[in-house]
Amino acid sequence: MNKVSITTLVAKLRSGQGSSLDLVNSCLDAIEKQDDVLNAFITVFAEDARRQARNADAAISDGHDIGPLHGIPISVKDMIDVRGTRTTAASHVRADHRASTDAALVTRLRQAGAIVIGKCNLHEFAFGTTGYESAFGFTRNPHSKQRIPGGSSSGSAVSVATNMAIASIGTDTGGSIRIPASACGVVGLKPTHGEVSLSGVVPLAPTLDHAGPLTSTVADAQLLFELLRQTPDEAPKKCQKTLDQTHFSVPRKYFFDKMDKDIASIFEHTVHTLEACGSVVTDVEIPHATEIPAVYLHTQLPEAALSHQLTLKTRPELYSPSVRARLELGRYVLAEDYLLAQHGREVLRREVDNALVKSEALILPTLPIVPPMLGDDSLTVDGETESVRALTLRLTQLFDLTGHPAISLPCGRIDGIPIGIQLVGRRHTTHELLTLAKQVESMINV
């Protein structure tokens, strides 16, 4: 995996130690060599990317500096509009779509000098956590090709893990940035809800939808977040604490009830590493944690059904059967239950806020299981069989409900398969969470 930061790459381009064209060609070579098997991309803009790279190199020669992403090839999930190209959302439903303008976040990337190299595969309409359902075929995990890469931003994570792109932008409605980041061994950031514009992004469940970066390092995630954000921090800037001044809280009840023992072991090792650095780590309780899936279902399902109201009526046969069935299910949720779920959501938000009063971050694994085999619908953990969907969402969906910023970073491997750790910060302090995550990353570097 490429661990050279974007800042370092741009500095090299500026000093003439490399060219944007070489960087783009390197990514295109990686796509050429690996993507027949991995299937991370739906569309690759090879010639356009090379043309932009030549322009970027010429600009540097002429003394023009476009910005902090000057000449850097970046992929985007195919839920995000790129002017003049199709946005398929990995569905036959959108086969005829063409975007007339760039999504707001793509405009930000271009203004900073980035080159959009292609659009990544995903779980159809981002409505799944495996990356298995796609009109363009499933994506494979590069670390174990018979396993899922996690989803729904499956291709984005794979593109970064395999150097097909230097970074990627994904979306996260229940964990869709953090889950594939964990499964593929990259960094994935879900900012506070509303911090990154979703204008020009295909909606799934608007009150839960987030966009954010998938990168090789936390520093890259921070760089991209600062470029993409549309709102300033609400909280006053504090003097950033060092690890020996940091208090982490572990929400054990419910979150650790169905967890692979090897993942639990790696997590405890990480906690010991932080304690050895002087951090304080204590347990904390989210009192209504057990009810998270009920609140999530009664929120996400009807919102997704509304987003797809027209095409469910006019072109239902174009959805994959499992995605269509879940969208149809949302039409059966009663208004009183949706509204009750929104109240439950406020209660959960208060409980997460309370859990973060005495600590700078919650810390927990990103996934409770090793990425399952392709096509598996259920798994047995501690003698109990559970759906893969429920297990993969178990540690991430709460923070989409409450809007708290959360980041997944690699913290170890089991039989060569990456495992991620998740840090969750106070709302509207994503910058502080990233600064803390950089310190954690440097201590647990794997």
Partner: protein, 58 residues
């Protein structure tokens, strides 16, 4: 509408619309609805406010 009545109507509708994949999902949603409705959703006090109050002289 009770979850039991809702469940019956939902299954009938899914059958009428010939979407058999919906049946296990409707069962899963009914269980979640029961959990949602049976939970005591009293809003907890803000920990920040509680801390402040605890430092105020009694």
């Amino acid at each position: 509408m009770t979850p039991k009545m809702w469940y019956s109507y939902a299954l009938q509708d899914a059958s009428r619309r010939r979407i058999p994949e919906l049946e296990p999902l409707i069962t899963m949603l009914q269980q979640a609805t029961i959990v949602l409705r049976q939970t005591n959703w009293t809003m907890p006090p803000s920990a920040k406010a509680t801390d402040k109050e605890s430092h105020e002289p009694s």
